[in-house]
């Protein structure tokens, strides 16, 4: 053991000073890239990565069936009667024409739709340096999905801002709301590009479900048909729609899309990507990629239907669907809804509430939670193409043409209904046949989010919905006959408050909303 010496002291000072000054590598110490995530600038360096960028746009569409087609479109229509007397839910406000700019569902849908637009724009910018063969296909998919998002945006909110590139925070505050006609033109451009660049089919099974040329043409036709109706009433769009529809109709085959022999089969997961022109893809497995619609549309499931029960019954089906108005002879009725519950083992029958079970594959296994059903959700069914084609032909001729009647009859026959003839009262006049097509569309596509848009496009929304609300909101809560007369402002929703607040005064709220 040594006594404390000057030498030790020197040593201590040296060490201490070293501690004080040992900062040589400090700059590196402060650069800590994210441990858990990649950053964007290090990505999109290969075809695989660009493809993963495309996949993420499709991912954005996973919320469409719920947030657009079910909570907004279907609830707004006369296919659902939501009761406001029990638990407050946004869809009840949608159903009862009570939405405000603060209704959270509107913000959620708006955000989801613009997220699709954003991801499509990112892809188009990041794909610029590449020249591989699928470049135009990828761009076509991005623009198809962007148009799909805009189609909902413009139909729900009217004039909406057109965003065709990624925006900085400052730029995002200064995009004006584009006139409705401009939005439609934007969609038409996107879809034309998609039509020109998407393949007619995909080879590998792993790519099945991506948008095809036919999907783009069918959507383009639907956009044109909507332009022909309310609010643009653009007569020049009708022949354009006809041309696209004729192409898609001619392309039907066993390997592309077709009218399923049995209506109920369309919604089974085994038939995913078999009959429809374009579907949102879902898969079970608890990874967040499952279909929430069967659960959302169900109300009270017995466990032999699903271990994941629906909500407490806080919305109902209108009498027009479950009563005698829709005769049982229509096979679609049994495939669409249930009002009795039959136990498959005991055979016991119990009376249940009428509820949509169209998308519920009763007793299917592998479902991990209530938003995890495997079956796809159709965006454009081939039946839609058929009925749109019939509608276009009728509008063009001003009367029910033989081809139009044949087209409608394809749907009716499959449903087990008697075919129309030239002598049927439904084909007697333009008005009668229009009504017949609209009615056929309602029963064919009930619970698929089509009805509201059909009513608006054909100019029937205000009269139909006012009468419907008067009749169905008999509950003390909404006052039955006190229900107000709807008007034009009810045909679109208010812009979500938060979006208006980003740059106050820059956008005007839609008329009639607080």
């Amino acid at each position: 053991m040594k006594a404390f010496t000057l030498k030790n002291l020197t040593c201590a000072v040296a060490l201490g000073t070293a501690g004080l000054l040992a900062t040589g590598c400090k700059e590196n110490l402060l650069y800590i890239p994210p441990v858990a995530n990649n950053t964007v600038d290090e990505f999109y360096t290969s075809e695989t990565q660009v493809n993963q960028g495309v996949v993420s746009i499709y991912n954005g569409c996973l919320s469409l069936p719920e947030n657009s087609y079910w909570f907004l479109a279907e609830f707004r229509s006369d296919n659902v009667a939501a009761d406001v007397a029990t638990v407050q839910r946004d869809y009840s406000d949608v159903s009862n024409f009570n939405t405000t700019s603060q209704t959270a569902q509107l913000q959620a849908t708006w955000t989801d739709l613009y997220e699709i637009v954003y991801r499509a724009n990112v892809l188009q910018e990041r794909i610029q340096p590449f020249t591989f063969a699928r470049v135009n296909q990828f761009k076509g998919e991005a623009r198809f999905l962007r148009a799909l998002a805009y189609f909902d945006l413009v139909r729900f909110f009217g004039a909406v801002p057109i965003v065709d590139k990624t925006l900085t925070i400052a730029e995002s505050k200064l995009v004006p709301r584009a006139p409705v006609a401009d939005v439609y033109k934007f969609m038409v451009d996107d879809l034309k590009f998609a039509v020109d660049n998407l393949p007619v089919s995909y080879g590998g099974t792993t790519d099945r479900g991506r948008a095809t040329r036919w999907a783009a043409k069918a959507l383009l036709a639907k956009v044109y048909l909507t332009m022909y109706g309310y609010p643009l009433r653009d007569a020049t769009a009708l022949p354009l729609a006809k041309q696209q529809l004729a192409d898609v109709y001619a392309a039907a085959s066993a390997t592309t899309f077709s009218i399923a022999p049995n209506y109920a089969d369309i919604f089974k997961s085994a038939n995913d990507n078999r009959y429809a022109v374009f579907e949102i893809q879902f898969a079970s497995g608890g990874t967040g990629l499952g279909n929430p619609i069967p659960w959302q549309q169900g109300q009270v499931f017995p466990t032999f239907w699903s271990p994941f029960t629906g909500f407490q019954a806080d919305f109902a089906l209108p009498p027009a669907l479950f009563g005698a108005n829709w005769p049982k002879i229509d096979k679609r009725k049994a495939a669409t809804l249930d009002s009795v519950i039959r136990n498959p083992t005991t055979g016991a029958i119990t009376q249940g509430r009428p509820q949509f079970t169209k998308f519920l594959e009763k007793g299917i296994g592998g479902v991990q939670n209530r938003t995890d059903y495997p079956n796809n959700f159709p965006i454009i069914r081939f039946e839609d193409v058929v009925l749109m084609y019939a509608e276009v032909l009728t509008e063009e001729a001003g009367a029910a043409t033989p081809l139009a009647i044949t087209l409608v009859n394809q749907i009716r026959t499959r449903a087990g209904l008697p075919a129309f003839t030239a002598a049927s009262p439904q084909t007697a006049s333009l008005a009668a046949f229009r009504a017949a097509i609209l009615n056929e569309r309602r029963y064919e596509f009930v619970a698929e989010g089509q009805r509201w848009h059909d009513l608006v496009r054909t100019g029937n929304a205000i009269s139909v919905m006012t009468a419907f609300k008067r009749a169905t909101t008999g509950n003390s809560a909404t006052g039955g006959a006190n229900f107000r007369q709807l008007d034009d402002h009810d045909l679109i929703f208010p812009i979500p408050l938060l979006e208006l607040r980003i740059n106050p005064g820059f956008w005007q709220q839609n008329p009639g909303y607080n």
Binding site: L21, G53, T303, R501
Partner: protein, 1046 residues
């Protein structure tokens, strides 16, 4: 990291080098003896330190106050020191017997306070620093040290946001400077910054200082903006080993209950709902007075069709209602989940020291049952502080502080928590189910909604958290040259937290019809947090000049900190049965499984100089440079300067004759601090996983999930402080007063973005906030003598105001309700942070005439909530929302009265706050139109609007009123309260040879509270966003405790 290891091994090397013996003494020893007594009372004083001046040779007095010390050569001076008494020096001058009496120390100015990277004499402090000592902490049964700070310090707002055992308390120093980054102060324990004060036994603490102004906190640079809480733990003192025991046992009961409808009220309201539906079913025929038989008859279409179960429930009363409690269970759910709960803590400690080694070792165990069934906390702590003089001029110090917490917590707070569930549960159930209604094997009550008993949830779910913390540091102190010291410190603070929660199927409200195990989930999460620090500080301390009139202290330091966080979580569902929470892939399905990680680094250089001339003119200046990994490339480094000055007026010649003023000091300071508490990686545009299943097979997809922001930097607060300290009447009255301004710029805010960017939120440095306040602290010894009475009072006022937002001052909505249900508040220039921005509910439209004639929303009906037409345009629109207050209280008060007589001591602490508001989101479940009849409601709904003939109390709308999604002032409450926070009656036993000191006490914590908050359990229950989401109620605790020193 490598560097830290390098320094760690250097320290070990140094230890080895310098381990050796102290220099031997050579002169012949003389034994000095004597006795130490207290002045005036002549009480003998045990434990007084007796030290030969200039050496480490010393002893301490025994229980009778006598001592005996061997002094080489019998020459020199003895120093007698004892806590709370004035130090006294006696020259030996050949005497061998020296007895002294010590004066009680009435001048606290000579106390030493801990400041950043050092200590300072209290009298020389030029910033705004406030603190409490061990006495205030030890003598009360507190389970978290923050609790001991409530109401004790001006400008320090301690809020118990949840009553959950062991939960963090919220501390705010001088208001809120930040909006989205954290407003939590920096916690520093024994010189080492830590994340929180969890796992620290309150009885380990010697003192707590809070650095409030920027000049004091600027030495902590980019983390000093919210103030700094410095905790110093007890260290050993030279003397015979002392054994300390302390402990308490308390009984806790819930402090308050929500006033909800009774079973009778609920049944009455339910009947009314059914009757309305019945009449609406066929308005021409049906009447509310129709009997059940008539209704069933009509519903069955005069007996031809069986009545569906749904219709029976919808249109008819339960016949059992007529029989009341005989046939149904009437349940007070709050009573059902609350319990009287025991809390106890025991501490054992040993402290003492020899010439070269001092030590203080404390071990403690806390066992606290929660006042809600199924919640509890146990905590064991150990803290060993060791100081050793290794050689002359070299000191070694060490702290080892492992702690463990075992808890069964969670499930109570917030949306979906059981506190809220208990409030909204229908108070009626089937007789056989009782308090287990809705839980396996009992179904829900048919006439109510779907739910599960909170009792069943709390009992059947299994939540276990284990938190292991190891806080350790070790350092060396070298005396390099006259007054120049070098301190090297290496520290780590590692926490391992494992959290397991098991929810069996029989604790699910969907259990009915579900197979056993099918709805079960079992989740296991692990968090491992690490924090390593190396720090070296050169300290120069010198007095010079004539009579050493000039005194200088200067430091120069460097530190590097690295923190890391590793998190993993597994959750499996669909277990085979309800028998076990353990799972593997073969018998369950994976719900989640992931691993994530984060890292951070902070490098700092700092320096400070403190100078005084005759302790009359005081000057201090400091500078820190921080570099942080959390910010964008453009703003990685920042400077944080501070200066302060003080003038002790009372030391001036001209004050000599002003005898009633004992001390008078004026202070002024300015400094710049920062706030870097935002999540890591906010500066990067990160990529997120967004897969899609083509044809049923998941395909990987990636897209950006955030926006890049290279300019992201810290918030910067520039603060002025002006203070005055004075004491009069021989220190009988001491007053400290401060006025401050704080200007925070470059506010970090997670601003809402236009959805057009593809995102909804990002962090930006967007604005400026101004805070201004006044603080007064007052200590008065009202009565001295046999009966002593002293009062300590503090009051603070703070206001804040948003000065600038973004580039164009666009108001920013804040306070987003859970579930995206809108924004309750906003940031707007000229207003306090997070001002509530709501429709002002002024009543109910009582008649159709009112609806027709008064301003209204477009769809208004009679019975709806009436709003104030703020802009007077004759209709109610979005523009009629108005500013209704903000969550930050303007005034805080605390007053402690202490009475002493003989061995008795009575302490009464009252605290109060005023001027803040609280938004009760609990209202969404129990106080909202449209919530229906099925669940329970606040008792006010008994007086709701029913019809023009029965308009109710004029404030509660119709149950079917519209526009329930609008956020209005009905849920806004004042958070003002006055609380009798603590009453402690202690008795100090007379001295005895069996023990050094002994004290027993009874205490009542949260004795009583006066407030007007009826929307939740506690006016302090402010959770993230500024709401009360239903929090764990606070407890009133009756305690019996003791402190014993042997």
């Amino acid at each position: 990291m490598k560097k830290l290891y390098c320094f760690g091994s250097s320290l070990v090397l140094l230890l080895w080098l310098f381990a050796g013996q102290a220099l031997a003494q050579s002169k012949p020893p003389v034994t000095i003896t004597g006795k130490v007594t207290a002045d005036k009372t002549n009480e003998t004083l045990p434990g007084v330190t007796v030290l030969l001046k200039g050496t480490s040779n010393g002893t301490s007095t025994g229980v009778d106050g006598s001592y005996s010390l061997s002094v080489p050569g019998g020459e020199g001076t003895l120093i007698f020191s004892y806590v709370g008494y004035v130090k006294r020096e006696m020259a030996l001058n050949g005497k061998t017997s020296i007895s002294v009496s010590l004066d009680p120390d009435e001048n606290a100015l000579d106390d030493v306070v801990v400041v950043g990277y050092g200590t300072q004499k209290a009298g020389n402090v030029t910033g705004a620093v406030t603190g409490i000592t061990a006495k205030e902490i030890e003598e009360r049964p507190v389970n978290r040290i923050e609790n001991a700070l409530v109401g004790q310090m001006p400008g320090v707002y301690v809020q118990t946001t949840t009553g959950e055992p062991g939960a963090d308390l919220q501390i705010r120093v001088r208001g809120a400077a930040s909006i989205n980054a954290s407003n939590d102060p920096l916690y520093v324990v024994d010189g080492v910054p830590v994340d929180n004060l969890r796992g620290i036994n309150p009885t380990d603490v010697a003192n707590i200082e809070v650095l409030k102004d920027a000049a004091s906190a600027a030495i902590y640079g980019s983390r000093g903006s919210n103030g700094v809480v410095l905790v110093t733990t007890k260290r050993g003192k030279k003397g015979a080993a002392k054994l300390n025991f302390s402990g308490y046992t308390g009984l806790q009961v819930a402090e308050s209950k929500l006033d909800v409808q009774s079973a009778e009220d609920w049944i009455q309201m339910r009947k009314e709902g059914i009757d309305l539906d019945w009449v609406a079913q066929n308005p021409t025929l049906n009447r509310a007075t129709d009997s059940r038989a008539v209704r069933l008859q009509r519903l069955s279409v005069n007996g031809t069709v069986p009545v569906s179960g749904t219709n029976v429930l919808r249109y008819t009363h339960d016949p059992k209602w007529a029989y009341g409690q005989d046939s149904l269970a009437y349940i007070d759910w709050q009573k059902a989940i609350f319990r009287r709960a025991i809390m106890q803590q025991y501490t054992v400690g040993v402290s003492g020291g020899t010439d070269n080694v001092n030590y203080n070792v404390n071990g403690s165990f806390l066992n606290q049952k929660g006042i809600i069934i199924g919640s509890d906390l146990q905590r064991a702590t150990l803290r060993a502080n060791v100081d050793a003089q290794v050689r002359k001029g070299i000191k070694f110090f060490l702290t080892l502080a492992p702690s463990m917490e075992w808890s069964s917590l969670g499930r109570v707070d917030g949306t979906g928590g059981q506190a809220l569930n208990a409030a909204q549960m229908p108070p009626v159930g089937p007789k056989e189910a009782g308090i287990y209604v809705g839980a396996d094997p009992y179904t829900t009550y048919p006439w109510s909604g779907r739910y599960i008993s909170p009792v069943a949830v709390m009992e059947r779910t299994d939540a276990n958290g284990t938190r292991t913390r190891l806080n350790a540091n070790m350092g060396l102190n070298f005396d390099l040259y006259k007054g120049l010291q070098l301190q090297l410190l290496g520290a780590m603070d590692n926490t391992y937290f494992q959290d397991q929660i098991y929810t069996p199927t029989n604790a699910s409200r969907e259990w009915f019809g579900a197979a056993e195990g099918s709805l079960s989930t079992s989740r296991y999460s692990q968090t491992f947090s690490t924090r390593y620090l190396f720090q070296s500080v050169l300290n120069y301390n010198r007095s010079f000049g004539e009579n050493k009139a000039h005194s200088l202290n200067a430091i120069l330091g460097y530190s590097v900190e690295r923190t890391g966080n590793d998190f993993s979580q597994q959750e499996n569902g669909q277990l085979p049965n309800d028998a076990t929470y353990l799972f593997d892939r073969a018998n369950s399905t994976v719900n989640r499984s992931y691993i994530t990680s984060g890292k951070e680094a902070l490098i700092s250089y700092f320096t400070r100089a403190q100078y005084n001339y005759k302790e009359k003119y005081l000057l201090s200046a400091s500078l820190r440079r921080d570099g942080s990994s959390k910010f964008g490339d453009d703003r990685q480094w920042g400077y944080f300067p501070a200066v302060s000055a003080g003038w002790r007026v009372s030391s001036e010649e001209f004050m000599k004759n002003v005898t009633f003023i004992t001390d008078l000091k004026a202070r002024a300071s300015w400094g710049v601090t920062g706030n870097n508490r935002i999540p890591n990686n906010s500066q990067f545009a990160l990529l997120g996983i967004n897969n899609y299943p083509f044809n049923g097979v998941s395909v990987n997809g990636f897209s950006p999930i955030s926006i890049a922001n290279p300019g992201l930097g810290w918030e910067q607060t520039a603060s002025f402080n002006y203070g005055l300290d004075f004491s009069v009447l021989n220190n009988r009255l001491q007053v400290t007063a401060d006025y401050y301004t704080k200007n925070t710029s470059d506010l970090l805010y997670r601003v809402p973005l236009s959805s057009l960017t593809g995102f909804t939120r990002t962090f930006l440095n967007i604005g400026e906030v101004f805070n201004r306040g006044v603080e007064v602290g007052l200590n008065s010894r009202n009565l001295v003598g046999a009966f002593e009475w002293s009062t300590s009072f503090n009051a603070s006022y703070n206001m804040n105001r948003v000065e600038k937002l973004d580039s164009d001052n666009t108001p920013v909505p804040t306070g987003e309700l859970p579930g995206g249900a809108g924004f309750a508040s906003l940031l707007q220039v000229g207003l306090p942070i997070s001002s509530y921005y709501l429709y002002d509910a002024i009543g109910v439209y009582q008649t159709q005439a009112e609806v027709d004639s008064e301003p209204k929303l477009t769809n208004t009906r009679v019975g709806d909530i009436k709003y104030r037409d703020v802009n007077g345009d004759g209709k109610i629109t979005l523009d009629d929302r108005t500013i209704m207050g903000n969550p930050t209280p303007t005034y805080l008060f605390g007053i402690t009265n202490t009475f002493r007589y003989k061995g008795f001591e009575l302490n009464v602490l009252i605290n109060a706050q005023q001027g803040g508001q609280l938004y009760s989101v609990i209202g969404r479940s129990v106080d909202r139109p449209g919530m229906g009849y099925l669940y329970n409601h606040l008792a006010t709904w008994n007086n709701r609007w029913k019809s023009e003939a029965e308009p109710g109390d004029g404030k509660t709308p119709s149950i079917t009123a519209q526009n329930a999604s609008l956020l209005d002032s009905r849920w806004l409450y004042s958070s003002d309260y006055l609380r009798l926070k603590n009453i402690t009656l202690g008795y100090n036993l007379p001295r005895s040879r069996f023990y050094g000191s002994a004290r027993f006490y009874v205490a009542l914590e949260n004795a009583y509270i006066w407030h007007n908050y009826t929307g939740g359990f506690s006016p302090e229950a402010l959770q993230a966003g500024g709401f009360d989401n239903g929090s764990y109620p606070q407890a009133r605790t009756y305690t019996l405790g003791f402190n014993l020193a042997l």
